[in-house]
Symmetry: C2
Subunit: 426 residues, 2 copies
Amino acid sequence: MIKAGLLGLGTVGTGVVRIVEGHQEDLQRKTGSPISIEKILVQDRSKSRAVSIDKDKLTENAWDVIDNPDIQVVIEVMGGIEPAKTYILSALEKGKHIVTANKDLMALHGAEILAKAAANGCDVFYEASVAGGIPIIRTLNEGFSSDRITKIMGIVNGTTNYILTKMSQEGAAYGDVLKEAQALGYAESDPTSDVEGLDAARKMTILATLGFHAEVSLQDVKVKGISAISKEDIQYGKRLGYTVKLLGIAERQDDHISVSVQPTMVKNSHPLASVNGVFNAVYVYGEAVGETMFYGPGAGELPTATSIVADLVAVVRNLKLGVNGRELFTPYKEKKLKSDEQISSKNFILLHVEDKAGVLAQITQIFAKHDVSLESVLQHPNVSNPAAEIIIITHDANQASMNKVLSEFESMDVIHQIKSVYRVEG
Amino acid sequence: MIKAGLLGLGTVGTGVVRIVEGHQEDLQRKTGSPISIEKILVQDRSKSRAVSIDKDKLTENAWDVIDNPDIQVVIEVMGGIEPAKTYILSALEKGKHIVTANKDLMALHGAEILAKAAANGCDVFYEASVAGGIPIIRTLNEGFSSDRITKIMGIVNGTTNYILTKMSQEGAAYGDVLKEAQALGYAESDPTSDVEGLDAARKMTILATLGFHAEVSLQDVKVKGISAISKEDIQYGKRLGYTVKLLGIAERQDDHISVSVQPTMVKNSHPLASVNGVFNAVYVYGEAVGETMFYGPGAGELPTATSIVADLVAVVRNLKLGVNGRELFTPYKEKKLKSDEQISSKNFILLHVEDKAGVLAQITQIFAKHDVSLESVLQHPNVSNPAAEIIIITHDANQASMNKVLSEFESMDVIHQIKSVYRVEG
């Protein structure tokens, strides 16, 4: 009998209990051992629960789990940095293996936790920390262990994808859809972490570190959220064959990497363009394998618990084989970040300009001056809007040149407003 | 230094050599050991090769690989049943671990090979046997180890998906697209195994066995290919919002399973509908995780080699940990097949009928008699075609009832032809 302890009994913790109890026979077949959740840290023992649990298993004292000599695996589903970090480090010191769904903790303190695990011969698994039910961490560590990953693009935040899908399908405004998402429980009452891209940035930190074998930190991620996206941007994108998605993008070229989270115009033929609603997907490009994509639920009680219990199965298999802590995937490459000159992409630019002859020539000259070539130019795209608008899609251009172009635009009288600038993918 | 032997140096074997040599440093970091391809079985040592290889490594005698005491891992990329099977069983008897891309062998003799591996404490990995570069076998074995899979639907044959994509996008006829695919090397000169669904059936045998933990055999798979699909079927599907795909479908319900390969009308909103060209994708539904999909290249030198070398990495890690042969995933459930009464799906039926009053009433009565309810009926769908045509889409109906309906249709004078019957998904 392998005994596990659970820190937290919210939505995901409840799912873990359900799966471990409901799938007991299968788990035993797969691991050779019965598995039991022995102690569970809760805030309030007297609260009624969605699953029937022996009250003796509940405790309001974390140390009843961490110090418990019978418990070999600690599953942390509390979230947040503290006290989760202290609990996990203490459990590792006591030789307990860790399964966690905590993206904040792994993004900010993953290196410290993995080092402590290595020092104590312990496993740390965190599949559920990114993209809920999609086994993307396993895929990067094992499925693509033979390949060199050059690009990871992820729709890794369900809230923003739900909002953008609704805006796109219903032509609705950001503020209205956000309110609706809050009413449905798809967005928090304070939605900042989701809509400003911070949640996605944490997940991309984890994926980039695993994909590129270099220790990417949260500060390396350039982040832009979705709150400034207008109905018009989405409509114009649609007319040109693009869907606006909040993408985390991690790229590597000659050992230099860049990581960002930003609203992106994704070509409709790209597999990420049709990932809708609260679903997540991670697109991985490997030098040898080429294009792949992994799609599934990014959150939710049972999907997230599926990943957690799969990690628990992995720990138990390792216990049976006596090889815990031997397969920690830690970065072995030096991190070198790309400069703006090395970051390159297509761009979508919407300008409000003075409606007179020669303006387009002036604008295209600025692009030429900075060596940015253009894929398409659409003047007056909106017949029902009298304002002079120009949409430009560039070929691949480096960020430094684009910044120079945009900075010149800002000082040009004929350009009233740089309405929107999006990266373009696919 | 871990030494591997290679049986076969065709397209995929060449890719394996390229990746093992090109990624040597990364592989060493990931496994803690340099890896070398020590001996390679070829048909003709004197033939010129796409990669530069020390001639001393080439042999025309398989036993130079299998009997070689330095070789710990044998990679089989010859394909076909014999002599591959004899070689693999002999290598296992000598305690060598196996990595194979051989779907035919694993579909037909997987149980025997895995039993021999278990008896000898050896690993057998075969990720590349299904869906080339997509790590779907790992995902079923490990990513979803905690879940109960109830449905696996796969586009697992690139040739047929290429043909159907072209037929759909260009309105071309099957025969013309097949010829084009043959010219481009996407289809064999004898395309039977691909277009009649046999290749897909072998892959579904492997996926169903892993997903449902019961030993599914090739004979259990009901197979129908794509050669009878007409331009009209595809056009009608399109108009109703469906895309025709050759799907492998494995389903489980209350421990009863069914496996089939058949052309299927897939609703355009379903993620499988937009998998185009030679790409593969496997859709997996788990009781807890819900909907997931894994997308990528299904064949090709480097994508397939990526999976093979990932398996090689897994063998080498196990060697380092001393745990080879301890994690063979073998079926532990009794196989119970669904009867026709237990297999249920929506159906698309295209009928050519006599153009007179009351025909539709006669037809709908037959459905009602056998308890098949209808989702939609479209009469005279094709205005430019004077023949009286009726398209019916049923609600979920069991196969036994559907067979009764179709059998009554065959004897009805007012029905000139049952033009097409497709399963409907999504």
